[in-house]
Amino acid sequence: MSVTSLMPDVGALSNQAFVSDALTAWQKEARDSVKAMVFPSRKDEAWRYVPHRQLPALSAYQASAPKEALACDLDVYCLELVDGICVAKPDLQGLTITNMQEASDDMLPAFTSAIKEDDAWIRLNQAYLTHGVLIELDAQCELDKPLMIRERVTKDATDQWLQGRFVIEVGENAKLDIIYHLMSEDTSFALNGVTKMTLAKHARCSYLRIQDLSSKATCLHQTDISQDTSTDVRVGQFLFGGAITRDAVHVALEGEHARVDLSGVYFPKSSQYMNIYTHMTHAVPKTYANQMYRGILCDQGQGVFYGRVHVLKDAQKTEAYQRNANLILGDKARVNTKPELEIYADDVVCSHGATVGQLDEDQLFYLRSRGIPEKQAHALLLDGFARSSTDCWEDSPAHDLLLAGVAAASHTEE
């Protein structure tokens, strides 16, 4: 599928202009190149199971009137965007938050640093960006609470494509916890998002993505993380709601002793489609990655877990683990799980495991025999199943959000 076929009227895709000439030029380059590009299709392994034909056509983005920020009841600093417009921004020492439209030329390298899996979607994001934010944390700096990026989409954005970009730079020896919470009103829209995160030496960062979308929403997102020496990262991908979701995370471990732990839950119901794609690149010796993903598939829900582990020739002493377990609850539910390990080093420890099963009848009976009603017993078991992922975030103020997401999905499951 060519890019233009999805863009009936490219000229109508408006966006806010940049102050920076350099950024304007960067965008123009993408606008020129993107039209000739072809979207990844079923022929591309990494996009093979995506229902390409069901993706909505692109339409014009029109900035709506600025909204009020929502109150935030979690113990976090909140950066809030509504329909792509920033409505709340914390002011903290050591942390700089810049809207891309207002960025100066000297911020260009940060904004434009290459995305590893550059494709037509990434280029489209660059060409027709609707909102972009640069978040920089100074070296040695540590926030006392997580930074929550709350991205809300309202009915004013109905049938629009949003193209969002977050660039996060964590300085040497700094520590940053980010909770990205994407939520929407009950309306159809699409979001093509990119997050680029770069960690300098000894930096620590957690990045928890929670998607809580209308069942008519489409979300394609790629996170690209680069880790220098002795960095420590924790990534979470928790998907609830949305018609079509592809949530990709690419981690490049480029310094020795870099570690990353990834966890997530996908819980498609009715006819929802959810795809988690992870790609670990172990580029140097002595790096570590551990993945723990759980899928619960109800009704005619479809899930995909695609986990690619790439260990380069020099990356000796790599440790790479991957586990994916799935529960199929609907007769017509479906999951494709695919570990893909490509290992060129000869002194590594790598393991992967994928399971697909059903709810354990013995467990259900045990709970019911103690007086716990069937529906509640069901929900308790699903919560228990998801715990190996949700409990990776027990220390986060958003932990309850994850449990609530699983519980809400469990209780409405048919």
């Binding site: 103690r370 007086g371 716990i372 078991l381």
Partner: protein, 254 residues
């Protein structure tokens, strides 16, 4: 008034009849033991009474405190005071033991028109019971039965029984996999619940457990029927002569 009245019960799995016309009546405060060789239908009886789906009842009636037991869901049976201590307690990774017990406790309270109990008083209640069972309270923080040893699992069953205070407790081979010390502690727990009103159905293969939990009646189950009933001395006789003795006798009688 009986607690449990089983009349001509026929039940099986996937068309194979296992219980073939079983009769049993239990009055309040009584302790009945069911013994029998492997494959006699002891565990099937426990499972049918607790309401496991796989078992199909083809004939007969079971009344429990005046209700038609077979019409009730497993959770309704529990709310009305039936409790099954499992032969093989199920491991449930990810489900916290304390949370599970509170959910069970409060489900029963709510079904009986009572307010649910708050977390703190409930925790105190469970911890006290843990003490009585000489059980490390750390087990409450773990997932239900997950990674517990055989003895710990059985202790966890008795803990739930003490918590839920059933009117009829069925102990399905509770002695299997227990050493002598654990057997004594668990039996003490069971005996502490004997108050003259609560009834027990103790299903066991060996007489050993009955040294600790003294039954009022002993029944021998063979090929899906109760073939002999008596007092505690029947268990001793069985222990001495073995189950083969029954077979030879019934053959002679036949």
């Amino acid at each position: 008034m009986t607690v449990l009245d089983i009349n001509n019960l026929h039940a099986g799995v996937e068309g194979n009849e296992i219980l073939k016309g079983l009769n049993l009546s239990i009055k309040p405060g009584e302790v009945h033991a069911i013994m029998g060789p492997n494959g006699a239908g002891k565990s099937s009886l426990s499972n049918v009474l607790a309401g496991r789906d796989e078992y199909e009842v083809t004939e007969g009636t079971v009344s429990f405190q005046g209700d038609d037991l077979l019409e009730l869901s497993p959770e309704e049976r529990a709310h009305k005071g039936l409790f099954l201590a499992f032969q093989y307690p199920v491991e449930i990774p990810g489900v916290n033991n304390m949370y599970f017990m509170r959910a069970a406790y409060n489900a029963k309270r709510e079904a009986n028109g009572l307010e649910p109990e708050d977390a703190y008083p409930f925790m105190m209640r469970v911890q006290q019971l843990c003490g009585e069972l000489e059980m490390n309270p750390d087990f409450l923080k773990r997932s239900v039965n997950d990674g517990f040893s055989g003895g710990e699992k059985k202790r966890n069953e008795v803990l739930q029984m003490m918590l839920l205070e059933p009117s009829l407790a069925i102990l399905d081979e509770t002695d299997s996999g227990l050493d002598i010390d654990a057997l004594r502690i668990i039996s003490d727990g069971v005996n502490a619940l004997r108050d003259g009103k609560r009834s027990f159905l103790v299903v066991t293969h060996y007489q050993r457990l009955l040294d600790y939990i003294k039954p009022d009646f002993v029944h021998v189950l063979a090929d899906g029927q109760i073939v002999r009933s008596g007092d505690a001395s029947l268990a001793l006789e069985l222990e001495e002569k073995g189950y083969a003795w029954l077979n030879s006798e019934s053959v002679q009688e036949g």
